[in-house]
Amino acid sequence: MAVIAPQTGRAPLTRPPAPAAPRRSPGRRKMTWIAWGFAAPFMILFVVFMAGPILASFVMSFTDLTTRDLRSPFNVNFVGVENYINLFNDPRFITALTNTAVFVIAGVPLTIVLALLVALALNNGINKFRTVFRVGYYAPVVTSIVAIAIVWKFILQPDGLLNGFLALFGISGPNWLENTTFALPSLIAMAIWRNIGTLMVIFLAGLQGVSQEQLEAAMMDGAGPVKRFFNVVIPAMRPTLLFAAVITGIGFLQFFEEPFVMTRGGPLDATLSTAMYTFNQFGFGNYSYASAASYVLFLGIVVLSLVQFRFLRQKD
């Protein structure tokens, strides 16, 4: 007792001096517990419904899982890359990939050009009705693709609004959605129409970053509007344009609702998309095969995302 007593008596002195302010910031270890408490609900759902399925889809693509294994998804055989080999030997899948590529390659630049045109027009001293214009151009973005595809489907019927309009000029329009030449371009036109608003808003923000001094200096040097656009505006907008191309590309790669509602992938697979092919295979019960198809699509999205990440890192 005699040994302990002085120790307890001295104990307060050996402790680190109390902080001047009574701060109660928890220790790092305790903080980690608290922080994970905040993260837990999200992370549990994230692992079960997001990260898990992403991995599971990848693993499944190397198995022979079909609808018969629905109740015993772990009782399957690994078949290596067989699903992928079969995919690339299926002419319909190649058609789907080609259509998807056309959709992206034709749709993305056209959307960018039109959205840039609108953004430039709005940015050039249009103050009257500015909000009205912005709301109008953005309205298609917020609406359901399914609903809008139904409206477009009726507009594009042989006896629909578009052909009625063309008839005023003596032009006899085709059956847009049943014609192998015009079906895919019709869907692309609708997708462009729906996505202009998003890029318009992004470009309007990007245009704020174009240096006024440079524009004025170019004007002093006698550069006309076209020259100013290509030599000053476009270089300053490059990161924005790339970002726009990537997000539009990622969106267009997944096109599904449009063919589902308007053409069912026809005529003669002219509008069959990769996402629709995947969905159809799922419908046939070929789960592992559908997963493989979805991963091919995913690869395209990853490539586009990497382009963007690399570019943004360069910027830093």
């Binding site: 609108v118 006024q212 599904f256 995913f298």
Partner: protein
């Protein structure tokens, strides 16, 4: 560049504007026309004899009341879940120092661009083994969280000053209390943006409800509309236009009333 606007700018903008909104006007007008009138050549613009018959059929014969209710129930729960879970994780990522933070953020950010088409097959296997196919939980659970929501909330909370949190800690408030009483009341604009974006995302969502709602009683509006439009009602133009109106008009109304939050959402995340 505040130069004097030129006439051609207005020509470009007005032409584009008409092209953008005309399908909506055509949809609205068509929903009040009889099927015979819509299919008649030459087309007439305004409904000759406006009728509510399409809407009567939609909510009578076709049970759109159920689909509308389903869409609302799913969207409300999805929105509430996203607000709660994204804010909590967003706060931890923005203002707390802890082990595993970087990995966690990287993991969530890495899935930002993963589309539903990559996950829906295993999700369906999971959902059916949980016995949740064709149920509200089956429709709702996979969408209670979105990486975009976390990103948005984290970015916003990062911009809040640390001093207010320190002050609350000195007063002895727990982290949970700080989150609820100090942080959340300041997150109004971010929460509003997140709420609108997730509500719309859920309202317009198609692929997953199409997969998991296997009978009519659990169809959401886009699923019902899409399946009817390719089924036996395919040639009922007026009816389908009215269906499209029911899906689109609530969303357009929300958008026009709250449009500044949409622009804010793009500004905060860079993504629609």
């Amino acid at each position: 560049m505040q130069r004097k606007p030129r006439w051609w700018l207005y020509v470009v903008l007005v032409t584009g504007f008409v092209a953008m909104i005309f399908p909506f006007i055509w949809m609205l007008l068509g929903s009040f026309k009889t099927n015979a009138e819509i299919r008649r050549a030459p087309l007439n613009f305004l409904p000759e004899d406006p009728t509510l018959e399409n809407y009567v059929q939609l909510f009578g014969r076709l049970d759109f009341t159920t689909y509308f209710t389903n869409s609302v129930v799913v969207a409300v729960f999805v929105t509430l879940g996203n607000i709660a879970f994204s804010s909590m994780l967003g706060y931890a990522l923005a203002k707390l120092e802890f082990a595993g933070k970087k990995v966690l953020f990287g993991l969530v950010l890495g899935t930002l661009m993963v589309p539903g088409v990559v996950t829906f097959v295993p999700l369906f296997v999971l959902t059916s083994n949980l016995g949740l196919v064709n149920s509200y939980p089956g429709l709702i659970l996979p969408f209670l969280i979105t990486p975009l929501g976390v990103f948005l909330m984290r970015q916003f909370i990062l911009s809040l000053p640390d001093d207010i949190i320190e002050a609350a800690r000195i007063d002895g408030a727990s982290e949970w209390r700080i989150f609820l009483r100090v942080i959340m009341p300041l997150c109004g604009p971010a929460v509003a943006t997140l709420a609108i974006l997730t509500f719309l995302g859920s309202w317009n969502n198609f692929l997953w409800p199409l997969v998991v709602a296997t009978s009519e009683d659990k169809y959401t509006l886009p699923v019902a509309l899409a399946l009817y439009s390719v089924g036996q009602n395919a040639s009922q133009y007026g009816l389908m236009m009215a269906g499209a109106v029911v899906v689109v008009v609530p969303v357009l109304a929300i958008f026009i009333a709250l449009q500044r939050y949409f622009v804010q959402g793009i500004a905060l995340t860079g993504i629609k």
